[in-house]
């Protein structure tokens, strides 16, 4: 474990965090070499599907940093970053990956030292966790791919996109929703979308029956059946053949 060097990817917003990272350099503040920085204009631009994809591909940790709340160059982009990160956290949990592998922090352009401290801390934390299991364990990888797929689906994106407004200003009818209510709906949606995408991925490898899927995923076959029905309605899954008297399903190519 000692010689393990985690691969860490960091999304930095151009205006505060990236400048903070530069300041760490200008001030010659040293930190571990593991971080690989991707510059984005705003932390709110970080689509949860991106980090999930990197984790699936074996990144040991992903950090996202933006301007402090209130300092956002785009007024409230970092608020949306925060909402999206919420979804990311849920999906990482669903995929059974340690929450410590992702991080969202605010770093201003004047916080060179803070940036270095954050990177150092996160690197140590990930080093502690050890290598990303997705590399060796195909189940975890499958989960992460399912999570990524879920993050790319309409339902979760629409929910997260509306979250800020729903819980601060309310819906079109002006009904404000408490964070708790929203979280409940979100959690349910995440569970569903994650499972359905997982089923679809499994079926895309090889056709299976509901029973088989249940065995593969450890989920009650009745729940699997509901999902399969829904997936068929979406046109993502279709009947492949009937073995004995149990139908076998396959994933459809989705354009």
């Amino acid at each position: 474990m000692t010689d393990f060097e985690p691969k860490i990817i960091g999304f930095l917003c151009n205006w505060c965090s990236y400048a903070g990272a530069d300041l760490a350099g200008v001030s010659r503040i040293q930190y571990p070499t593991n971080l690989r920085i991707i510059r984005v204009m705003c932390s709110g631009r970080v689509d949860p599907a991106l980090p999930l994809g990197f984790l699936a591909e074996g990144a040991d940790g992903v950090m996202i940093t933006g301007c402090h709340i209130g300092d956002c160059h785009y007024i409230d982009g970092n608020l949306h970053a925060k909402r999206k990160y919420g979804l990311l956290e849920r999906l990482v949990a669903k995929a059974g990956l340690e929450p410590g592998r992702i991080m969202l922090e605010w770093v201003s352009a004047s916080e060179g030292q803070r940036f270095a401290d954050i990177v150092t801390g996160f690197t140590d934390q990930v080093r502690e966790l050890g290598p990303n299991p997705a590399v060796t364990d195909p189940c975890v990888k499958l989960n992460l791919m399912a999570a990524k797929a879920a993050a790319e689906e309409y339902r979760l994106r629409a929910l997260v996109g509306k979250e800020e407004k729903l819980v601060t200003e309310g819906n079109v009818y002006g009904e404000e929703m408490t964070q708790e209510e929203f979280d409940r709906i979100m959690e349910e949606a995440v569970e569903t979308e994650f499972t359905r995408n997982k089923i679809r991925l499994i079926l895309s490898v090889k056709p299976m029956s509901v029973k088989g899927l249940s065995a593969e995923t450890g989920i009650d076959s009745r729940i699997i059946l509901d999902h399969v029905v829904a997936l068929r309605q979406r046109g993502w899954v279709d009947l492949h053949e009937v073995q004995g008297n149990s139908p076998v399903y396959r994933a459809m190519e989705v354009q």
């Binding site: 990236y18 530069d22 760490a24 204009m41 709110g44 990144a59 007024i75």
Partner: protein, 561 residues
């Protein structure tokens, strides 16, 4: 760009800043082996004129169509290298930087091997992105050289005149049947005690005389279409609709004064008036002769739970009038009951001392124990507890003057909806940034000044009005506006018209087109990418920071050298 990518990689030593810790030749050699890299070379100082020339030579010699520079931070140097590429005939958006100084050599000075490894992977990431880069256009839009000023008070008039003096046509829309606004109601103005009429009348005269300013009285803004450069503003003049085609809009709608019904006996006890009414009495003259004792009460309706903000001008206004009253008749007893004297800055501080010298009695009261006004035979009777004296004073007065706060116009709500610009919690117009963009709205081409934004005295409004005219004049002076290329673009085939992006965009850059689908006005888009990251259908692409490009960067990072 259809043809095969041919990437040139240029690695900077930056003296010893990079070269001292990162094995630059090794990085160059490594870069040469990367996919689609046609050429790579080191240089002592990439940013030196010699370095830039080398890039341009290489572009020609090796027919490069992508350029990667591995050196310092793009925040300071990207534009330099981009223009070098442009001079060599490349579009500036096929350029990418790898920050191997500020974010590598300088922060890993004690681990040269690892620093070199990191530098390689930063270059690998940049190359991965560069392969996918495409040329971007910076579309230009026309800016109509005509400004719209909403509001014909001192701010609006000043803005309009400045715009005219800058050489633009101006439409001035005023809801009343005459120009002048609040100043018409005032007698004198602090700090110089100049007659309000001497300030406002010359402005009105100049505006009326100006051939560049078209005045629309009795008019209101009914609806607003378009964006910076080409706003189509529908106004109604006595029911008559008209559409004004303008390039920029200045909001100078001013504010109102609270009528403090029920406060301190206002409306119930005789001779309890507001500062505005006192100004009116001054204008009419005479009626104050009988007034021997007069009490002014500050914060009458402000700095409380209902209206938390301080109205800024009342203390100085009261002091101005108090001095006037005692100088008129030194036997007069004039009290100002205040909480915190807001006599800020030099002139107002001096007025405060003048008041004390002239014998104006300043009595501080406590918010927890407000003064009381009751109607008596002789006139209003004031009871006030002074914490400093620790006793309650009872003052028999001839008149009580309430300093009622400036409050936002009730039609701010409507106008803010038409212009799609926000109001703050006090219902005044809210600027783009409290500190550095006090006169702009987040929406390009719309500006604010004067008391429409918050309570202000005349001089501050005049400065702001001139300032707003400068801000509005900038795009109009340029005539054409080069808009950023790093913007969102909607793939209509994918868009379902859910409107999520429209709600998310603080710049109102996204609207629904006639088919109900989202469309980005790139002139207005600031390129943050929030919409793209949120689009349920993933129908929005972020130019120059596409998902594919970011994905490629990340996956390249995960590959080991």
């Amino acid at each position: 760009m259809s043809e095969e990518p041919r990437i040139g990689v240029f690695v900077c030593h930056c003296g010893i800043n990079i070269g001292g810790y990162v094995d630059v030749p090794d990085v160059v050699e490594y870069a040469t082996g990367l996919p689609d890299v046609a050429y790579a070379e080191p240089n002592l100082y990439m940013c030196s004129s010699d370095g830039l020339q080398k890039i341009q030579e290489a572009i020609k010699k090796y027919e490069l169509n992508r350029v990667v520079v591995a050196s310092c931070t793009p925040r300071t140097h990207e534009p330099l290298f981009q223009s070098a590429c442009e001079e060599a005939g490349l579009n500036k958006y096929v350029f990418e930087m790898a920050n191997i100084r500020d974010q590598c050599s300088w922060v890993h000075m004690h681990e040269p091997e690892k620093a070199t490894q990191k530098a390689k992977s930063l270059v690998r990431m940049a190359v991965a992105k560069a392969r996918l880069l495409v040329p971007e256009e910076e579309p230009e839009i026309d800016i109509r050289p005509t400004g719209l000023v909403i509001g014909g008070g001192v701010s609006g008039l000043t803005s309009a005149l400045s715009l005219a003096d800058q050489g633009f046509k101006v439409h001035l829309v005023e809801k009343e049947d005459r120009l002048g606004g609040t100043l018409l109601k005032l007698d004198t103005l602090f700090s110089s005690n100049v007659k309000a009429s001497e300030v406002i009348n010359p402005l009105i005269k100049r505006v009326k005389a100006s051939t560049d300013v078209t005045v629309h009285l009795d008019s209101r803004v009914a609806d607003v279409k378009g964006f910076i450069g080409s706003f189509d503003v529908g106004i109604e003049t006595r029911g008559e609709p008209e559409t004004l085609s303008v390039g920029t809009i200045i909001v100078a709608t001013g504010a109102d004064y609270l009528s403090p019904e029920g406060l301190y006996g206002y409306g119930q006890v005789d001779n309890v008036v507001t500062q505005m009414e006192l100004e009116q009495l001054f204008k009419e003259g005479g009626r104050l002769d009988g007034v021997k004792t007069l009490v002014m009460i500050q914060c009458a309706g402000s700095r409380n739970e209902e209206r938390p903000y301080c109205s800024r001008v009342c203390c100085t206004e009261a002091i101005k009038n108090a001095i006037k009253l005692v100088k008129e008749n030194p036997k007069r007893d004039v009290y100002i009951l205040y909480r915190d004297l807001q006599t800020y800055g030099i002139e107002f501080s001096m007025m405060e001392y003048d008041a004390k010298k002239s014998g104006v009695k300043l009595v501080m009261y406590d918010k927890e124990r407000l003064p009381e006004v009751t109607g008596e035979e002789r006139g209003p009777m004031v009871r006030v507890y002074s914490p400093l004296l620790d006793e309650e004073l009872t003052i028999e007065t001839d008149m009580v003057v309430l300093s009622a706060p400036i409050i936002p116009n009730e039609d701010n709500e409507a106008l803010s909806k038409h212009l799609k610009v926000p109001l703050n919690s006090d219902r005044f117009f809210m600027e783009a940034h409290v500190k550095l963009r006090p006169l702009d709205f987040a929406t390009d081409g719309i500006y604010v000044c004067g008391t429409a934004h918050s309570p202000k005295e005349v001089a501050e409004s005049v400065s702001q009005a001139r300032g707003a005219a400068s801000r509005a004049g900038i795009p109009m002076a340029k005539g054409r506006l080069k808009t950023a290329a790093i913007t969102s673009v909607v793939d209509e085939a994918k868009c379902s018209g859910c409107g999520t992006c429209i709600e998310l965009c603080v710049y109102n850059a996204i609207t629904k087109n006639e088919r109900g689908l989202a469309q980005v006005t790139s002139a207005v888009c600031k390129g943050c990418g929030v919409c793209g990251a949120s689009c349920p259908e993933r129908a929005i692409t972020m130019r120059h920071f596409t998902n594919e490009e970011l994905e490629a960067q990340g996956l390249a990072a995960l590959k080991e050298a």
